[in-house]
């Protein structure tokens, strides 16, 4: 019997929520790491019992947690009393140190500002090795571990892709999206607010901006500007790695050539501002977004929480409302807070800043709240367990 396991990160802890393949009855376990901000929790695709979590706090900094038993128990890899050659214990699982000269990026006042590590926003386990994980961090950079999270090294080539021109948005400057390519193990995509999308074709050594076609007419009047775009999220179907979909600050876009050129597919959306975007597990042209009223008002238009689905890869969208609040709803759905399972029919999940997690067991046709009163949801991932 198949099962699903939701991994929910919130502002006050993590929750693991499970159900059988029917996805009607849910068991909520948590909070784990109570009181800490859990930006992201994600399992290894090759060893689902291996789960990584980013635990962070304004007081005590960054912690990386790891479970090897599906979330029952957790440890801080490298946090035990392992003596290093100089006799000091290591405890380096939370040590994210930029490589070489730290360098500077663009600051709000136009000056250059040194990179400062703040937290891990996103953890992306390798598609082939449970000990290898990529971490997207604020201030924007990508790190990699090959020993299960004990130590992390920056892939510094990313910040060489015109990093001096990147600038924080209101939410900070972070690598919030990391996408690995199943067909080409050396290819990685990342997205950064407010710098744009970037691609590596050599396993993270070197990177190039892939933002042609993105338009931000007021902030970036030059249409050929390579970096500085506020990309909120990108998504890919694993069977078609050259096709990516993007929710930008404003605009929903797609590329059919690995980011070389993007085109807008906002179509009939009520607003094309939003944060998450995801792709149906079995239909590569079916995509989901949650339109948000504007960059000034981060809640759904008209107080109606609506997921929009396009079955044509964009441009033509339908509102999915059954089971979702259609009045007085003023929550937001953050960029890492939507996920799909790989059951049939495809399950779609998202969490809100109001603490609700919604599930659809029928590709979005109808929704049910899995849980209603969690802390503000930062991220939602789902594992399909067979």
């Amino acid at each position: 019997m198949s099962k699903v396991r939701l991994l929910v990160g919130t502002k006050k802890g993590a929750f693991i929520i499970t159900s059988d393949g029917k996805r009607k009855e849910w068991k909520v376990n948590g909070p784990l790491f109570a009181g800490w901000e859990i930006y992201h929790v994600k399992g290894s695709p090759v060893e689902p019992k291996r789960i990584y979590a980013s635990q962070t706090s304004g007081w005590f900094g960054q912690i990386i947690q790891r479970s090897d038993d599906g979330g029952k128990t957790w440890n801080t890899p490298g946090g035990g009393p392992t003596a290093s050659p100089d006799g000091m214990p290591k405890g380096e699982s939370n040590k994210f140190v930029y490589e070489g000269e730290i360098g500077k990026h663009l600051w709000y006042d136009g000056t250059q500002h040194p990179w400062e590590f703040k937290r891990v926003w996103h953890l992306e386990p390798s598609l082939t090795d449970p000990d290898t994980v990529y971490a997207g961090v604020e201030d924007a950079a990508i790190f990699k571990t090959t020993n299960g999270g004990k130590t992390w090294q920056e892939l510094a080539g990313l910040r060489s892709a015109k990093g001096h021109l990147w600038q924080p948005g209101a939410g900070g400057m972070a690598v919030h999206t990391i996408i690995l390519d199943r067909k080409n193990p050396k290819r990685i995509f990342v997205a950064i607010s407010a710098a744009g999308a970037f691609r590596s074709d050599d396993d993270g050594k070197s990177w190039k901006p892939v933002n042609r076609g993105l338009k931000s007419q007021y902030e970036l009047p030059d249409p050929d500007t390579e970096v500085g775009h506020c990309v909120h999220r990108i998504a890919m179907h694993p069977s078609r790695p050259d096709v990516l979909f993007m929710q930008k600050h404003w605009d929903v876009l797609r590329t059919d050539n690995g980011g070389e050129q993007w085109r807008e597919v906002s179509g009939n959306l009520p607003t094309d501002f939003g944060f998450p975007i995801d792709v149906h597990a079995h239909e590569p042209e079916t995509i989901y977004v949650v339109p948000i009223k504007s960059d000034s008002e981060h809640f759904p238009p008209e107080g109606k929480l609506r997921v929009y689905r396009s079955k044509s890869g964009g441009n033509e969208w339908e509102a999915l409302t059954k089971g979702l609040p259609q009045k007085d709803c003023y929550v937001n759905v953050l960029r890492d807070a939507m996920a799909v399972d790989s059951l049939e029919p495809c399950g779609v999940y998202f969490g809100t800043t109001g603490g609700q997690v919604y599930a659809s067991a029928n590709s979005g046709n109808s929704w049910n709240p899995v849980v209603r009163d969690l802390p503000s949801v930062l991220s939602v991932e789902v594992q399909t367990l067979r």
Binding site: G35, G58, W59, Q62, P81, P89, N94, K95
Partner: protein, 98 residues
């Protein structure tokens, strides 16, 4: 024996209840107490002070014998009452939650 009181979240992280007891050489200093804590509980490295610069994290404070030692240099010796174990050394999460 030095007695150290950790804030709630760091006690959970280190998986300890109550005070932490440290065997260390005299005279204890701010730096040597933190070095000893991190050696005994490596998971706390980076949570009290920066991994590289060893500077105190902004919202962590140090107190002993009703004195705020947060801004004192790392080589500052701790009060005699802390060195003898009569009083604890307090590591506190600052009231900065808004």
């Amino acid at each position: 024996m030095i007695r150290v009181v950790l804030p709630y979240h760091l006690r959970n992280l280190a998986r300890v209840d109550g005070e932490v007891l440290l065997e260390m050489e005299s005279p204890p200093t701010l730096r040597s107490v933190l070095d000893t804590i991190e050696a005994k509980y490596p998971v706390l490295r980076g949570t009290i002070r920066d991994h590289v610069t060893l500077r105190r994290r902004p919202f962590v404070r140090f107190f002993a014998c009703k004195e705020d030692l947060s801004l004192e240099p790392p080589e500052t010796e701790l009060p005699e009452a802390v060195a003898t174990g009569a009083e604890p050394f307090l590591i506190v999460g600052a009231m900065a939650g808004g």
